[in-house]
């Protein structure tokens, strides 16, 4: 398994993600400059968090036109894991690799805090090792994370098991109070039909070590481990062990 972590100008979390992959999980991972990305030799690609191009115009818009995105698209078509975290999620929606849009938080402010999330589907490359209904804790940090799509399209996502994570309260309910940004249906992460292209606003790389978690959790690791053992999304089943 060899993972590419893309670096766009303005990316912030590429070194953090690399640290977790290499030092915590012990997998092979490279930092790849967006203009130099060649997918051959890589089994998965991560678009990390941050503010590519300063989030000018809209979060992720300018990066979505990067030359790297052609290669990313090919990897998506090949059924390989394509993971967008935070800004990466925004880039994937702007590039049309995931449906919908991420708009400015309802509260209008940047929000940085730990949230509880419920695993709604284990169809995706990031969640297939987790039981449906599991509650995990990860931090969020974004100003434009309000997931919006047409009602019909969202129904479709639910039906296909493409909604993978929702913001929930302590008791596991997707209440308005638990929704940090006004996302429709409290959606925190989605995947494509095959489950190999995944976008989520929370930061698994910030929630992969007990020392960083106010709850002593390391739930981010399970998401990365899912990705690592995910084989091929094209048959619609998630990876085989």
């Amino acid at each position: 398994m060899r993972i590419a972590v893309l670096r766009f100008p303005g990316s912030n979390c590429e070194l953090d993600t690399l640290y977790v992959l290499r030092r915590v999980l012990g997998v092979d991972a490279d930092l790849v400059w967006h203009e130099a990305f060649d997918r051959s030799g890589y089994d998965a690609v991560i678009l990390p968090g941050g503010f590519s191009y300063g989030d000018y115009l809209r979060a992720g818009t300018i990066a979505a036109h990067s030359p790297a995105m052609g290669e990313v698209r090919s990897m998506a078509d090949e059924g390989k894991p394509v993971i967008g975290i935070c800004n990466g999620f925004q880039i994937l929606t702007e590039a049309g690799l995931l449906p919908g849009a991420l708009l400015r938080n309802e509260g209008l402010n940047f929000v940085c805090r730990w949230v509880s999330l419920r695993v709604e589907s284990n169809k995706s490359a990031l969640t297939w090792l987790l039981p449906k209904g599991a509650i995990i804790r990860l931090p969020i940090a974004h100003a434009e994370g309000r997931y919006v799509n047409e009602r019909r399209a969202i129904k479709e996502l639910w039906r296909n098991g493409q909604v993978i994570l929702t913001y929930v309260d302590e008791s596991g309910k997707p209440t308005p109070g638990a929704n940090p940004n006004g996302s429709m249906d409290n959606i925190a992460g989605i995947c494509n039909e095959w489950g190999n292209v995944v976008g989520l606003m929370p930061h698994p790389e910030r929630g992969s070590e007990r020392i960083l978690s106010p709850f002593g959790s390391e739930d981010g690791l399970m998401l990365f481990e899912s990705m690592i053992s995910f084989k091929d999304g094209r048959d619609g089943r998630c990876g085989s062990i």
């Binding site: 990316s11 640290y19 300063g54 929000v111």
Partner: protein, 706 residues
Amino acid sequence: MLELMYSEHCSYKSSRPILKILPKEGPRVLVGPGYDAGIVDIGNGYVVAFKIESHNHPSAIDPYNGAATGIGGIVRDILCTNCRPVALLDSLRFGPPRKGRTKWLLKYVVKGISDYGNRIGVPTVAGEVEFDESFETNCLVNVACVGIGRKDSVVLARMDRPGDYIVLMGSSTGRDGIHGVTFASKAITAESEEERPSVQIGDPFMKKVIIEATLEAVATGFVTGLKDLGGAGLTCALSEMAFKGGTGAEVELDRVHLREEGMTPYEIMLSESQERMLFVVKPEGLEGVLEVFRRWGLPHSVIGRVTEGEEVVVRYGGEVVARLPARLLADAPIVRRRARRPRWLAKMLRIPKPKEPKDLGRALARMLSSPNIASKEPIYSQYDHEVGIRTVVKPGDGDAAVLRLLEDPRAIAVKADCNSRHCLLDPFNGHAGAAAESARNVVAVGAEPIAAVDCCNFGNPERPEVFWQFSEGIKGLSFMLRGLGIPCVGGNVSFYNEDERSGRAVNPTTVVVMLGLIEDLDWVTTMAFKEHGDEIFAIGRTYPEMGGSEYYHWIHGICGGRPPRARPERERASMAVVKEAIREGLIDAAHDCSKGGLAVALAIMALKGGLGADVDLKRVPRSGVGRLDELLFSESYARFIVSARPGAARGLKALARRHGAIVSKLGRVVDSPDLSLRFGERVVRCGIGELGRAWGESMRRYLGEL
């Protein structure tokens, strides 16, 4: 150009003789005051660079861009030592929060810091916010940055090898900010809002790219000097670098990449356009360095070379337009100012004691809702405090932020503090208290305080009363730092923070940023009570020191009385006990007593842990305290509250004896959601829920949704 170089901001013409008394030496000090940032050796081949700076005037005019460019400036100061910026802190001061102007200022200052700091990927991990009438016209926005680097690759802001190339990198040069420095040294007047050209606009995206490209360029090994362009632009940077390296320089202004047409040489030399860095590069490495800039898409121009001699020669269109001895520029004359104790002070110190409220439980709940005490979560949740995956103790969870070193298994702690009302009533003791409080804060999270930087904010130093505050303040700061054995490795002075019309100056405010080192990650400690049954201890003695307290101000509407006295030997003793108790694994929570005193400290530890506490106030070590409200809310220094598993008492007592400190068991952490503070018959009782609402929700209420 001379006017600019001599303005207060650049050359410290009236403050230098006073600042000289601060302790600067210590075994860990690598670079002390005089360079862009102080640099401290933390061992194992690593250094920490840190520095604080004020951006008060720009923020009062344009809070969003003023605060944002403040972050931009302080980050450059750290970056140009070749350390990676890993943390930001913000110390903010405003007028009373109900005022419309305060809301406007606070909202956009926070937004400016949030938009800029978050975008450059440097977490804002700690800070403080104080509200007081004196800051209504002149808000204070102080920002600090901390960086980590390798000791063997520190670069300094100087040019010392004739023949090296001088490269200007980053944003193009425009007319913005011309005369920004002279502006920063002026009082705010009615016309200030019209002084547009001085407002600068930051570009966090460009800055983020500059950070990465700079670190990469220096890693080539060919960069011999590095400086950011701040006040007075190229003029200041070139002359300072040449002066420090004992060289001269020759530059051609035609080569500078410009944003606007028709700029004169004078404007180019003085532009304060943001996001620019000056590199000095060995000739054989020039191409490699430029290649890094090209890959990151950063504009740059090779503007000249370092020369023998001591002259900065500036050419434009083939002609010499300026020829300036570096020494003259950087070495401003010193002005000696008169100092006089303000006459009004005596009256303020001698005020009658207010009556004790009947219901002290209600008073405590009200104290927690004071904007100076209430949770600042609505502010720090707008800052990305996690990026970099170093933040082990996050804002709100401990007295200081703790950042682990990814490079080795240790951590650093940082916090900025000052109680400006104490400083107003007694600049000497108040400033000593600021140093002590920031040190206590890093001790409480498990660190050893190793160095400090300070940021002085005062009124017009030409007024003898203000200059007295300043010189007394620095004496007090120096007294405490020397007493604690902590060097001051850098600082910043901002004068003229006053309203010209009313002559009202800000409270004298020297913010102290303390850096602590934690050798073992197991020592990291937070303030929340951990488990019911834990025992609660007070460390240090309480005196009836109510002057300038939050209790007097918020409950009784008074600003007066004698503030707490600074007692370095007591601070040392209390800190030693906490430090060692943490190392021995004796205690599981620690919090210092500051604003709001003992009662507020206990309440917050309980709230944070979601647990109650049962405390016998008769056991609080005290001296001369005759009233219950004084016991609860006195702001005496040198005190901590800690909690421990049962059985730790003996160990704590032994530590106290060894260090000459005083420790007393006050009570227990309990399961029920009540804070109960007993003094014989009298019981002050509050529900944790009520206290939690007062503390947790009031900031949002004062400000509407922030």
